[in-house]
Symmetry: C2
Subunit: 895 residues, 2 copies
C-alpha cells in the first residue's frame, strides 16, 4: 500500500522527489537533532493522484488524521483546541521551487473560539488576534482565491484610522476589528463564511496546495523552465511556532556564511516580533543578524552552532529560515544557498581549504554562467557613480552613452560616432534598427523575457528592463527618475546590465580582472594576491586536468588566433574565410561573381589566391602545432554585392533624373540575377563550390600552399579543410576529389608532403540523418549548431528573434532561446543521431562543434555527453568552455 | 572455394546479381533448350575482387581456361585455331544495364593467321576480313581506349576511295587494306601492336570489362540512378555466330508482341548480312521483321515459336536479339521488354485475359508514371501537323504558341495575352522570368538534366530540349530547322513534350481521353469501346479494391472539391485558406496587418469572418460525409503586401519628382516592418497564430460555424483543423486550447455539438524529431513534405531549383529532384521517425501526407511502407495516387 504521509522523523534530504525540497530538508534537520517543530509531509504522489483523478487518494485522510493525532499527542494539544489550540502551518513544497504555487498558510486551527484560548494561554490578546487576522488573510488569498489587495487595503485603513503606518501600533482591539472586516471580505468575495472548523481549514488548505500546482503562473513557469507537468507538489504540515509573541520573539533568514567574504555566521536579517512573511514583505526594517547576539545571546550562539552543523552536514553554503519564540530557537527551513558568481568561486575553494570538499566537488559548485558573469565588462571599482534606479538585469555588461528615445536618432547619432542608449517604455520589432545602433537598452516595462531583453541578449547588447521607477516621455524626449531627476535626450547615463542598475552620467568601464587573468596579463603574485582570481585559477586548473573534451576557438584573424591560444584554446575549430573577402578585396569578389567568361573568372580567382594564401600563412604560424580547421566559403554570393532594394532605388531615381549610369544598370541586372527570396536557403556553402568553377579549388590551393610554406619554414601546420552546408555525401565526395587533385599538384610543385584532413560541417538535418553515408567521405564532423537550429526549427535567427521570440518566451513555448542554449529534444536529437551514425561508419571519426553553442555552459555539457572530441567557441568564451568541459566530467546528471 | 565462372547450362534467370542480366537470361534460354551459342559467364564477384584488389582472383584464369577448354571441345575447334578458329564474343552484363561500360567485343580469336583460316573455312575472304576489321575496331576502341572516330574515318576513307557509302560495297581486298590501316591506328594511338595471341585478346577484353565498371560515365550513371558502386559487372563469353556470312545470314531485334496492338511476333527489325552492332548503329536500313518470313520462312517460324515460348515462360513481353548464320537461328539475348505507357496497360490486361497473369500481377506491370503520361494534354489525334524536328522529351505536355527568343519578349507578349514558346540554345538562371512567362520551352542543347528541362519540369511547363537539328540564332531572332525551314520570332510552333516532337504551326490540344474517363464523362459503352480506357478502368478498379491507403485531394475551392470527388478522392487532405484571402479580400488582410490598435484589428477580423465562413460552408457541402482537413493561415503576412523593392522604387521616384503621397510613405514603412530576409523561415504558420491576436480564433470560428450550418441543413461535415508549421508541442497546445474555447462558444451559440479533430502538419525536422511529444496534443499528423524537404536539405525550392539543380543532376548528386520524388534517406528518415514516435505515443494517430509527393508514384509506395493512412494530392493526380496505393500493396520491394 502506498504511504502518502511521512513524519519529519521518517524522511531525509535525498527524498526531494517524494517530499519536496522543503519537506526533505525539514526531515533531514529533524534527524540531525536540530530544533524543528514537529510535523509531517504529504507526498507528491498524493498530489499526482489528486491531479489525475480529481480527488485525494482514498487513504490520505486517514493517514493525515493519524499523523495529526501523533502530533497532537506530542505537543499535548489538539488542532484548534478551544482553550489552548495547536496551530499548524501548511506549506507547498515541490522538488523545484516554483513561483505561482500556493506557498504558505500559517496559524491554521484558529477560529472565533480558539483565538480566545490562544489569547488566554499566551496572556497576549494582541498576539492572538494578529495571528487570526494573518490566517484569514492568507487563507482568503491563497485558499479562497480572494484578491490580496482587499485585505491589504483593509489593514492600511485600520492603520490610517489610527494615524500610523506601523502594524505594531495596532492594538488588540484594532486587530479584532480587522478580523471582523476580513471575515466580511471573505463572505463578500468568496461567497461563504470563513471556515470555523479547524479540520476543514486544514483539508481545504491541503487541497489548495494540490490545486495550486496547476495555477496559470505555475504552469507557465514549468513550461519556461522545462519542469515536467506530472511531478506534483508535496505539502508540509508543521506545528506553529510564533515569532510574533513579543519582543523576545522574532523571525529571521540567514546564510551559513557570507557569500562574499566567506566569513561564517555573520550574514542574515532578523526581525523582532514578527512572522516569516513580514521579513519577505519588507513591512518593517530588519536588523543585521549579528545584532541578534545583543538581543538574545543564547539563541544567537545556538544558531551559529546549528549553522556550523548544517554546513558540515550539507558540505555547502546553506540558507535557513528560523523563528525565535519567547527565547526558544526553531529551525523552519534550510536549503543549499544561492550565491553570487564571485562568491561561488571563493566559497568553493574555501570549502576545499577547509577539507570539506574535493576539487572535483569544487568544480560542481561553480558554473560557466557564473564565470561568464565575471568576464563581462564592468564599471571600474573606484569610479564615482550616482545610482538613479534599479530594474531587471536583462542582458549583462556595462555601458555608458547618450540617451535617445527613438531609432531614428539612435542611428543618426551612432553614425556620427556617439555611443547611445535607447530608452523606451518597451520595445517592439519597429525598434530593431535602433537597438542595433545603440550600445545599451533601457526600458521601463517588461522583464527578462520582454522583447528588449530577448533581442539585446541575442545581440550581446547590455540591457536593463522593467525599471518601473522611471517614467519615459518619448514625445517630450525625456525620462523622470525618483528624486525629481529628469534625464533629457542627449544626457549621459550608464547601465549595469549585470546588476540592473542605472546611473546618471558616465562611469568608466573596465575589463573585468578575470579577463586580464585569462589574457595572461597577471603575474603569479598578482593572481595569489586576489582571492577571487586565485580561486578561479585553481578551479580552472582542475577543470583542465579532468576534462575529456578539447576546447578550440572560432577565429578568423592572426591576432584573434594568438589571443585564443593564450585563453587556452587547443586549436581553431572554425576559421571562416568569408571575412577575408571583405574590405579592399570585395572588388575582386565582385569581379568573380560578375564574370561573364571563364577567363574573367580565372583572372579574379588568380588575384585572390596569393591574398588568401598569406592570410593562411599567418594564421597557421600563430596556431603552429595545433589543429586549424578552415572552412571554405559559405555565405551566398550576393552578400558581396550591393543591396537590391537600395540599388534599385538609386538607379530608379537616377533614371527619373535622366542621370542613370550604364555601369549601375549592369550592376543592377547582376544583383537581380543573384537575388534570392531566401538567401539562407540558397546558393551557398558547398553549393557555391559545385556551381562556381574554380572557387573551392582556389581556396584549397591557398590553404595547402600556405601549409607547405610553413613546413618549409620549419613549422608544423595542422590543416583541416572543412566543407560547409553539405546535405549529401555526393556533394562532399565531389569537392573532396577536387581537393585531393589540388593537393597532388601542390605536392608536385613544392615537394612538400602534407598530412591534412577533409571534413564537413553537420549543419543541415539531412547531413545528420545521413551521417553514416557522409562519414564514408568525411574525416571529421563539426556541428554547425546555428544553422542546424535554423533549419531544424525552420526559422531564421535574423527574422524571428526580434519578432516572436519574446512572445514565445512569454508563453513558455521556449524556456530559453534555442540559439542561446542547445535545444536538446530537437537539434540535440539530430546531434545524437549524427554521432551514432557517423561513428558506426567510421569509429575514429573526429567530432566537434563550432556553432555558438560551443561556448554555452549547458550546451557544452550536452556535447560532452554526446561524446564529442572538442567544442569550439569565440576566444572570450574559451575559459567558460574549458570550465564546463571539466564540470561535464564531474557532474552526473544526464540529458 | 568461390566459383567464379558459370557455364550457360549452369545458371538461371534469377541469378542476375551474380551473372548480370544478360548472363542470367542466356542461361535461362539455354536451359529452356533454345538455340543459344555455347558460352559461359564470369561472375560479378570476380569483378568485385578485381576492383577491390586491383587484380583478378587467383583461380579465375584457371576457371576460364577450363570453361574455354570445354567450349572448344564442344565445338571441336580451339580459340584462334589457325585453320578453323573458334571465335568468341565478350560482353559486359551488370545487374542493371548501364551506359558507359564496355559493352561488346566480337570476333575475339582472329589474328593475321586465323583470319585466313576463317576465310578458307567459310570460303569467303570478304567475310573473314570484315570480321577481323570489326575485331580491331571494337577492341581498339573499348579495350585499348582509342578514339572510335579514327576507325570510322579510316573506314569512310576506304568507302570514299571506292566511290561508295555502303560498306557492303567494300570487297575482300578493300577490307584487307582497312585491317592494315586499323592496325597502324592501334600502334600509333595505343603505343602497341594489336595483340595477335587470342588468349591475350580474351584476357585483355575481360579485364577491360571489369575496368569499365569504373568508367566516368558509368560512375555518373550509377550516382544518378542510385545504383550501388560495389555491385560490379559480369562478363559473358560466347561462341561467335555470324550474321555477316552472306545474304542467308543476318541479325535482328524483336519484341515478342507489338506493344501497341498486342499482336504477337510482328514487331521487330531485321538486317541481312550484318553483325549486331550494325542494327543499333543504323548503318543500313533494316526491314520489318515480318519480311523475314519471305527471306527465310523456316527461321522465321522457329523465331515465332521461340517468342511464344519466352512469353509463356517469362509471363511478360520480352525483347530479344537474334542472329541467323547461314539459315540457322541463334538467340543472343532476351529480357523483359520496355513498352509505352498505353502499351503497358493494354498488354497487362491482355495477359490477364490470356490467363498468363493475375490482376494483382497486372497491377505490377503498369506504373503511376505511365498513367501520368496518359493524362497529359495531347495533340488531337486527327489534327494536322507538320513535324520539323525531334529532341529530348524533357517535360511532358502539348503546347502551341508564338516563338520568342528572350525573356523580355516572353514577358511582354504573355502580358498582352499571347501564348509564347521560349526558344534558346540553352537556358540559364537569367532566363527564369521568361520560362515563367512562357507556355513551353524549346532548346537546341542539353538533355533531361539540363537547366531548361529541370526548371520546366519543376514548374510543370512543357519542354523539348536538345533538338540539335535546329540552329538557334538569338540575335537574328529566328531558328533554322532541317529542310530549309526558318522560324522567325512570332511564328507559331507546337511542342509535344511527351514525345519530344516539334511541329510547325498550331496543333489543336485536347484533354487526354483518360482524363475524360476520370472526369466521369465517358459512358460504360464508351469505356468498353476503347481498349486503352477499358484496360485503365479494369486496373484502376483492382487498385481500388486492394489498396490499404485512402487517397484525398489538395483543393481550395468548391469546384475543385467536386472534381476531386469525381476523380476518386476520399476527402480533402489539404484545404489552404490563404487563397481565400486574395482578390477583393486582400484589402481586409492589409487592414489586419497594418492595424495599429486592437479595435482596428478586430474590425478587420470581423469583416473576414463571414466571408471565410461562406467559403467553408460551400466546401463542406461538396465534401459532405468525407473528411475535410482545413489548414489555418500559413504564409508570411507580407505576401499580402506590395513588394518592398517595387514599392521603394515607386516611392523614391515619386519623391524625386516631389509627388510622394502620404499613404504610400506609410505603406512603405509598414512593408519595411514586415520585410524578412528569409520569409520562408519567418513569421508564418502557427507563429502567426500565436503573434497576431485573434487570427486563428477567427478562422476556427468560421470553420466551426460553417460546420454547424451544415449540420443544421442536414449535412455531415467531417472537419479536421490543421495547424501549420508546428515545431514544438507547446505551440500546438496553445493554439488548440484557443480552438477548444471557440468550439465551446460555437456550441453555446448554435446548439450544435460538433465532432472535429485538431492536428498538425509535420513539415519541420523538429516536429518529426519530437513527434512523440506533439502526438500528445495532435489528433492527426499530415506530412508537409514540400517544406520538410526544404528545411531538411536547407534549400528553398524557389531559389535553388533554377540555379543549381541542373548542375546537381548533371553531377549525379541527385538522381531526381527531391521535390519531385521523396528523398528516402533524408526526408524519408524523418517521416519514419515521426511515424514511429507519433504512434508510440498515440497508437491510433491518423497519418497522412499532403505535400506534392502525395501524387508522386515512387513516393506513394514509400508512404504505404511507412504505414500512412492516406495520401493527398492535387485533383488531377488522384488517379495516379489510387493506382500507386494499389501497387504498393502488391509490390514486394522495400525502401
Amino acid at each position: 500500500m502506498t504511504k502518502y504521509v511521512y513524519d519529519f522523523s521518517e524522511g531525509h534530504k535525498d527524498l526531494a522527489d517524494l517530499l519536496g525540497g522543503k519537506g526533505a530538508n525539514l526531515a533531514e534537520m529533524t534527524s540531525l537533532g536540530l530544533p524543528v517543530p514537529p510535523g509531517f509531509t504529504i507526498t507528491t504522489e498524493a498530489c499526482q493522484t489528486f491531479l489525475t483523478h480529481g480527488a485525494e487518494p482514498r487513504d490520505l485522510a486517514r493517514e493525515v488524521d493519524e499523523h495529526l493525532a501523533s502530533l497532537e499527542a506530542l505537543v499535548g494539544r489538539t488542532l484548534g483546541q478551544r482553550d489552548d489550540p495547536l496551530l499548524v502551518a501548511v506549506r507547498s513544497g515541490a522538488k523545484h521551487s516554483m513561483p505561482g504555487m500556493m506557498e504558505t498558510v500559517l496559524n491554521i486551527g484558529l477560529n472565533d473560539q480558539s483565538v480566545r484560548g490562544l489569547a488566554a494561554q499566551a496572556g497576549d490578546e494582541r498576539f492572538a488576534f494578529d495571528s487570526y487576522r494573518r490566517l484569514i488573510q492568507m487563507f482568503g488569498k491563497t485558499v479562497l482565491d480572494i484578491d490580496g489587495e482587499l485585505f491589504e487595503q483593509a489593514l492600511d485603513a485600520a492603520k490610517h484610522a489610527k494615524g500610523t503606518t506601523d502594524d505594531l501600533a495596532l492594538d488588540a482591539a484594532d486587530l479584532r476589528r480587522v478580523v471582523g472586516v476580513f471575515k466580511e471580505i471573505v463572505v463578500k468575495y468568496a461567497g461563504r463564511e470563513f471556515p470555523q472548523n479547524p479540520r476543514e481549514q486544514l483539508r481545504m488548505a491541503i487541497r489548495a496546495v494540490f490545486e495550486s500546482w496547476n495555477a496559470d503562473r505555475a504552469i507557465l513557469y514549468r513550461r519556461q523552465e522545462r519542469i515536467p507537468n506530472d511531478l506534483g507538489t508535496a505539502v508540509t504540515i508543521c506545528a506553529m511556532v510564533f515569532g510574533n509573541r513579543g519582543m523576545d520573539s522574532g523571525t529571521g533568514v540567514a546564510f551559513t556564511r557570507d557569500p562574499a567574504s566567506g566569513a561564517q555566521g555573520s550574514y542574515g536579517d532578523y526581525l523582532q516580533n514578527a512572522q516569516g512573511e513580514d521579513v519577505v514583505a519588507g513591512i518593517r526594517n530588519t536588523v543585521p543578524l549579528a545584532e541578534l547576539g545583543a538581543l538574545d545571546k543564547a539563541s544567537y550562539d545556538q544558531l551559529l552552532g546549528i549553522m556550523a552543523t548544517l554546513e558540515l552536514h550539507y558540505r555547502d553554503l546553506c540558507d535557513i529560515e528560523f523563528t525565535i519564540e519567547r527565547g526558544r530557537l526553531w529551525m523552519l527551513q534550510t536549503r543549499v544557498g544561492k550565491r553570487t558568481a564571485a562568491a561561488a568561486f571563493r566559497i568553493a575553494t574555501q570549502f576545499v581549504d577547509e577539507g570539506l570538499i574535493t576539487m572535483d566537488e569544487a568544480l560542481t559548485r561553480v558554473t560557466g554562467g557564473q564565470l561568464t558573469q565575471l568576464m563581462f565588462p564592468q564599471f571600474g571599482a573606484g569610479a564615482a557613480r550616482r545610482l538613479i534606479a534599479v530594474g531587471v538585469n536583462a542582458s549583462p555588461g556595462a555601458v555608458t552613452g547618450r540617451v535617445v528615445f527613438d531609432s531614428y536618432t539612435a542611428i543618426k547619432w551612432s553614425r556620427s560616432g556617439e555611443q547611445v542608449i535607447l530608452v523606451r517604455r518597451e520595445t517592439n520589432p519597429d525598434d530593431l534598427d535602433g537597438i542595433i545602433a545603440a550600445q545599451g537598452i533601457l526600458t521601463s516595462r517588461g522583464g527578462k523575457t520582454s522583447h528588449a531583453a530577448v533581442v539585446a541578449r541575442g545581440m550581446g547588447k547590455t540591457a536593463v528592463c522593467g525599471v518601473d521607477a522611471i517614467d519615459v516621455d518619448t514625445k517630450g524626449r525625456r525620462f523622470r527618475a525618483p528624486g525629481g531627476i529628469v534625464v533629457e535626450e542627449g544626457d549621459v547615463i550608464s547601465l549595469d546590465g549585470t546588476s540592473g542598475e542605472v546611473f546618471l552620467g558616465a562611469v568608466a568601464v573596465v575589463d573585468a580582472p578575470v579577463v586580464s587573468y585569462f589574457d595572461g596579463l597577471l603575474s603569479t603574485d598578482e593572481i595569489a594576491a586576489d582571492d577571487l582570481i586565485s580561486s578561479v585559477h585553481r578551479i580552472m586548473g582542475h577543470a583542465d586536468a579532468v576534462r575529456r573534451m578539447d576546447v578550440r576557438a572560432n577565429v578568423d584573424t592572426p591576432a584573434d588566433a594568438r589571443r585564443s591560444r593564450i585563453m587556452g584554446a587547443q586549436g581553431i575549430g572554425l576559421c571562416r574565410t568569408e571575412h577575408m573577402f571583405l574590405g579592399d578585396r570585395r572588388i575582386h569578389v565582385e569581379r568573380l561573381i560578375l564574370a561573364d567568361t571563364d577567363e574573367e573568372r580565372e583572372e579574379a580567382l588568380a588575384t585572390l589566391l596569393p591574398l588568401q594564401q598569406q592570410d593562411f600563412v599567418e594564421i597557421l604560424e600563430e596556431m603552429d602545432g595545433l589543429p586549424t580547421t578552415i572552412r571554405l566559403l559559405d555565405p551566398p554570393l550576393h552578400e558581396f554585392l550591393p543591396d537590391l532594394t537600395e540599388l534599385s532605388v538609386r538607379v530608379a531615381v537616377a533614371e527619373a533624373r535622366g542621370e542613370a549610369q550604364e555601369g549601375d544598370l549592369r550592376l543592377l541586372q547582376a544583383v537581380k540575377g543573384f537575388h534570392e527570396q531566401n538567401p539562407m536557403l540558397g546558393l551557398r556553402g558547398v553549393r557555391l563550390g559545385l556551381v562556381i568553377p574554380g572557387l573551392f579549388a582556389m581556396q584549397s590551393r591557398a590553404i595547402l600552399e600556405a601549409a607547405a610554406t610553413r613546413v618549409r619554414a620549419g613549422g608544423d601546420p595542422q590543416v583541416e579543410i572543412m566543407i560547409p552546408l553539405v546535405g549529401a555525401v555526393q556533394e562532399l565526395e565531389t569537392v573532396k576529389q577536387d581537393i585531393i587533385n589540388v593537393a597532388r599538384e601542390v605536392r608536385t610543385r613544392t615537394g612538400v608532403h602534407l598530412d591534412f584532413l577533409v571534413g564537413t560541417m553537420i549543419e543541415l538535418p539531412r547531413a545528420a540523418l545521413t551521417a553514416d553515408a557522409i562519414a564514408q567521405a568525411a574525416e571529421f564532423f563539426s556541428f554547425g549548431t546555428n544553422d542546424l537550429t535554423q533549419t531544424t526549427w525552420g526559422f531564421s535567427r535574423d527574422d524571428v528573434e526580434a519578432v516572436f521570440f519574446a512572445a514565445y518566451l512569454e508563453k513558455g513555448i521556449f524556456g530559453v532561446s534555442p540559439f542561446e542554449s542547445i535545444d536538446v529534444e530537437g537539434v540535440g536529437e539530430l546531434v545524437r543521431i549524427a554521432v551514432e551514425k557517423g561513428r558506426s561508419m567510421r569509429p575514429g571519426l573526429k567530432l566537434g562543434i563550432c556553432g555558438e553553442h560551443g561556448g554555452d555552459p549547458d550546451s557544452v555539457r550536452f556535447f560532452d555527453r554526446m561524446g564529442l572530441d572538442y567544442v569550439s567557441c569565440s576566444s572570450l568564451r574559451v575559459p567558460v568552455a574549458r570550465l564546463e568541459a571539466g564540470r561535464a566530467v564531474v557532474l552526473t546528471e544526464d540529458f
